[in-house]
């Protein structure tokens, strides 16, 4: 007769990793030289930070109201563009 199998003991779950920034996507944008208007290719990554702020390139939107403000402005622009 075989040995009885030991009861299954659930191992404690590993501690959750600390929150980290999350890359939502990258926008193919161009950076415009204000002097001569010449564009230079400049990818614009959009991040959500661990503090619930939104980072677009060098700009950091820490106020959620500003995120909604930007969404509203983009909706207005899209409506003007009729997209």
């Amino acid at each position: 007769m075989s040995e009885p199998r030991p009861p299954f003991v659930a191992q404690p779950a590993a501690p959750a990793p600390p929150p980290r920034d999350c890359l939502i996507g990258t926008i193919r944008a161009a950076e415009v030289n204000p002097l001569d208007g010449s564009p230079t290719r400049a990818p614009l990554p959009v991040w959500v930070t661990d503090t619930n702020a939104v980072q677009m390139g060098e700009h950091l939107l820490t106020d959620p109201d500003q995120v909604l403000n930007l969404v509203g402005i983009l909706l207005t622009a899209l409506r003007i563009m009729r997209i």
Partner: protein, 144 residues
């Protein structure tokens, strides 16, 4: 027509910056056409946001300008073509959902203060209603 006297309309941002030539070679008709072209092709201001910027103390204002022909949108120094603008709006919609700041669909809960829900402080609606039903008070009486 003296082409040198007419500045590039795309470069005109402030008419005060334009050096007007004086003399007999000034072409009024061409200047008017170019000035109108400069106005009609000037980007439209559609709004601004307040953001922080790395290496800059405090907050900065980022203006958004839309091309008059709708071909692109400037967000500060960055220029986005129309298709990327749609993509950015989609991404920010996801972001707004992630951080839980979607517009509220229900009114906020009333504040839990001693006077919450009582309306006018000191106004005893139940007592007033009771007295009105008894005929003791006429409407308007009993208000503190």
């Amino acid at each position: 027509m003296n082409a040198r006297a007419i500045p590039n309309p795309q470069a005109i941002h402030n008419h005060d910056d334009v050096d007007l030539p004086f003399g007999d070679d000034w072409n009024h008709a061409a200047a008017a056409i170019h000035a109108e072209h400069a106005v009609t092709t000037r980007p439209l201001y559609v709004g601004s946001i307040t953001a922080a910027q790395r290496g800059v103390q405090g907050s900065v204002g980022v203006e958004l300008h839309l091309a008059a022909n709708g071909a692109w949108l400037d967000i500060g120094p960055f220029r986005l073509p129309a298709r990327e603008l749609r993509r950015l709006q989609h991404l920010l919609g996801i972001v707004a959902a992630c951080i839980g700041q979607r517009p509220a669909t229900t009114p906020p809960a009333p504040e839990l203060t001693p006077e919450a829900g009582r309306g006018i402080v000191g106004w005893d609606l139940a007592r007033t209603a009771s007295e009105l039903s008894d005929g003791g008070l006429s409407e308007g009486e009993g208000r503190p």
